[in-house]
């Protein structure tokens, strides 16, 4: 089943055409890695898919509902209630975590479920504790983000996103803000999620990781998808010169 379908997405900032015509599809349980040089529009793509950026035109569909779609050249977003529902389908993990510094780890995770989704607090705490245990940081529930390492903060932010039970989780360079020795713990968590069939779209510069964890690789450059396919195809045996040039930078 298709969870996310993007069609002819375009976005420019002034005369900088960041997304030129992006179409892609993500099936349930699929792990998609998005790779490409800096400035190719990877973050903008995720930001459009998560309502942080408004595309100029194109359609974004989650399951069978349009988040936004262009009808007769006019961009239309889903109406309020529907929008709320569609937005609950996805979660986003940021490069620099964006945890709430004034809340404990526990509150960071349960605040949205309790205050926004009106879930029962006890139940939300239990879910949060399970997630923290899974992330290996159950002992940090009462700590404040400032007292955690970058890797621990990123695991909290993954738990925070998962607590809302999204159907699909986006990651924008989840390890780029971390010291190299801490990236492993995050990649491990993502691998674990992949093993549990979590649907994920991951923007990453970790080629080895992308090849290991992803079912599908998308190589973006200059606002278009230059090449996509299985890791074997795109990373193992790239067809486009641009893909080859990009990948050669990661060898040796």
């Amino acid at each position: 089943m298709s969870l996310l379908e993007i069609k002819n997405l375009k976005k420019s900032f002034g005369d900088n055409n960041v997304l030129r015509d992006i179409s892609l599809n993500v099936d349930e349980g699929q792990v998609v890695a998005v790779i490409g040089p800096s400035g190719s529009g990877k973050s903008t793509l995720l930001r459009c898919a998560t309502t942080l950026e408004i595309p100029d035109s194109g359609d974004i569909k989650y399951i069978d509902e349009y988040l936004c779609r262009t009808v007769d050249g006019v961009m239309q977003y889903a109406k309020k209630d529907k929008l709320k529902k569609i937005c609950s389908y996805f979660g986003l993990v940021f490069q620099n975590f964006n945890l709430f510094p004034h809340y404990t780890v526990m509150k960071n995770i349960i605040d949205a479920p309790v205050k926004v989704m009106k879930q029962d607090k006890k139940q939300a705490e239990k879910t949060a504790m399970d997630l923290l245990t899974k992330m290996g940081i159950a002992d940090k529930a009462d700590a404040y983000p400032c007292n955690l390492s970058g890797g621990q903060q990123q695991r909290v932010s993954i738990a925070r996103a998962l607590a809302l039970n999204p159907r699909i989780l986006f990651f924008d360079e989840p390890t780029s803000a971390l010291d190299p020795e801490l990236t492993g713990e995050i990649l491990k968590v993502i691998r674990q999620l992949a093993a549990e069939n979590m649907t994920m779209v991951i923007v990453t510069h970790e080629m080895t990781f992308a090849r290991d964890v992803a079912d599908h690789i998308i190589f973006m450059d200059g606002g278009v998808i230059v090449e996509e396919g299985s890791p074997e195809e795109v990373i193992g045996n790239p067809k486009s010169e641009r893909t080859k040039a990009f990948l050669s930078r990661f060898e040796g």
Binding site: F94, N98, P101, H102, D111, A112, K115
Partner: protein
């Protein structure tokens, strides 16, 4: 022979009692100003950051006038202005003082709040949005608590200044402590009432700094 002017002998006890009476009015002015100016400042900060350009410009002008002209003059305008413009539109001294202080301090608080709000990283809003918080929830639950913590030291400075600035209300003959000190000093030809009032201001601000320090500690439970 001209009779010598009779100067009453000064009694510290009388001075203290009278100053204390004035101090009560000082305190009243102080608390009412904070009560109005602290929230009003937030409203002004929002107007100052509004996307609606005319509102933004008017607010900017208001703030620059409040900060660019003497508070003493503003007090006189608020007190004498209405009756000067419209016959019979008199205003009592006390409300005039409260209004003048409130709109003046709101301008200063607004700039402090604005600085605090603008210092919150964009990522906080984005994280909140993706987690489903609406605009009001985002502001009340995520942004405001961080802003308050960040601006509290600057607010403390203003509050301490306010304690001393209340003496300016003597310009419209509101009988707060400084007016009382002036009157006693003239009556007894003594500097003792001034010294006494200085002590009162000092003690008041000592208490203010202890209270604000308590709040600062309370809000400093996390690091940025």
């Amino acid at each position: 022979m001209l009779p010598m002017p009779i100067i009453a002998a000064i009694s510290p006890k009388v001075v203290f009692t009278q100053l204390l009476g004035g101090f009560e009015l000082t305190i009243r002015l102080f608390f009412l100003t904070l009560l109005f100016a602290l929230p009003l400042g937030m409203l002004v900060a929002f107007c100052r950051m509004s996307k609606f350009t005319p509102l933004r410009w008017i607010t900017k002008l208001y703030i620059s006038i409040m900060r660019g002209t003497p508070l003493m003059l503003q007090l006189m305008v608020v007190f004498y202005g209405p009756s000067y413009l419209f016959k019979g539109a008199d205003i009592e001294r006390f409300p005039a003082a409260v209004i003048a202080f409130s709109i003046n301090y709101a301008a200063y608080f607004a700039e402090i709040y604005r600085g605090g709000i603008e210092s919150i990283p964009k990522g906080q809003y984005e994280a909140a949005k993706v987690l489903g918080y609406n605009k009001i929830q985002t502001f009340m639950r995520i942004i405001l608590p961080q802003v308050l913590r960040n601006v509290l030291p600057a607010i403390t400075n203003e509050v301490i200044t306010l304690v001393k600035d209340t003496s300016l209300a003597s310009v419209i003959a509101y009988t707060e402590m400084f007016s009382v000190a002036k009157r006693l000093s003239a009556k007894y030809l003594s500097l003792l009432p001034y010294a006494g009032s200085g002590l009162f201001y000092y003690v008041a601000n000592y208490i203010v700094s202890i209270v604000m320090e308590f709040f600062e500690k309370k809000l400093n439970y996390y690091e940025k």
